[in-house]
């Protein structure tokens, strides 16, 4: 009986380790060795963070992604967003790859990259997909806000490179939601109309329909310009 309980506990622990942080939950804290020295998640308090993993250094899809992330990095910094990469490679491997990208593609990678050889961070964030690869991180993106709350999670398989425009669009949408208390519709881009949260009461719904500042199809579907 004791053995059964022990096995269950191990399974629970395994499940806990492999599970994803949830949207809206505090981002799991970590301290990690990176290409810019030892960094803790708490070092990013006050700024947004895109924590992303890639399968391996010196691979073609990851190289295109790193170049893509570096290209959007200045725009992200203007939005108070930092970038932090991660893979299950050593710091030396990261440094060699970053130097290679500079030499072969003329792109200087300025953001830090975690050398997660022990998979500590990857496991905390559920970045390993054992059915796909147990030794490489998948292409995960965690958007963490300035209060260190997980706000969005995106996953791509090993074979498919990520879309940088979508990552910027996602962060802009989240920051717009925070600033104005609105939601953003499908394919929303900065400058487009935004969605006003549905009225919570019958009275509110009546009021909403009379509000000239809004464009309402019905009480639950009202948009406005910002």
């Amino acid at each position: 009986m004791a053995d059964v309980q022990h096995v269950q506990t191990e399974q629970q622990v395994e499940q806990e380790v492999q599970s994803l942080p949830r949207i809206g939950s505090p981002a799991p804290q970590f301290e990690a060795v990176t290409t810019h020295g030892t960094i803790r998640l708490e070092d990013y308090k006050g700024s947004w963070l895109i924590l992303f993993s890639h399968p391996a250094d010196f691979t073609p899809v990851c190289t295109t992604e790193f170049i893509g992330f570096q290209k959007i990095y200045p725009q992200l910094k203007e939005m108070n967003v930092e970038l932090l990469g991660l893979s299950i490679d050593s710091v030396n491997s990261h440094i060699a790859w970053i130097r290679n990208i500079k030499e072969k593609f003329g792109v200087d990678i300025e953001f830090p990259v975690i050398a997660d050889l022990t998979m500590d961070v990857a496991k905390k964030y559920g970045m390993i997909m054992p059915e796909e690869s147990s030794t490489e991180a998948s292409r995960a993106v965690f958007v963490i806000d300035d209060k260190q709350i997980v706000r969005a999670i995106i996953y791509y398989p090993l074979s498919t490179g990520r879309n940088m425009d979508e990552i910027i669009r996602l962060v802009k949408a989240l920051q717009t939601t925070d600033k104005h208390g609105v939601a953003t519709p499908a394919d929303w881009q900065e400058g487009d109309r935004v969605i006003v949260p549905p009225a919570p009461t019958v009275e509110g719904a009546e009021e909403r329909m009379k509000d000239d500042s809004l464009e309402c199809v019905d009480f639950y579907f009202c948009t406005k310009e910002l």
Binding site: H36, G37, T38, R40, E42, D43, Y44, S47, E82
Partner: protein
């Protein structure tokens, strides 16, 4: 960085932070302003300099340790 520990290896970021607090106590935010380094780098660098015993902290502000 004058602190009598010439053998300690410092990164360019640590040197920049050290230079900014050589003569006065500054908060992390003030160091960010003075050095134009990102906040995460200043926090990480401060922690490293504290571990190397090269700077002191007083009331949330930091300064290079004086030679004794």
């Amino acid at each position: 960085m004058a602190c009598g520990k010439g053998n300690v290896q410092l990164s360019p970021t640590e040197k920049k932070i050290g230079q900014s607090i050589e003569h006065e106590f500054l908060s992390v935010e003030e160091i960010v302003q003075k050095t134009s380094l990102p906040m995460f780098k200043v926090r990480s660098g401060i922690r490293s300099l504290l571990e190397k015993d090269l700077i002191v902290e007083e009331n949330g502000k930091y300064k290079v340790k004086k030679d004794e």
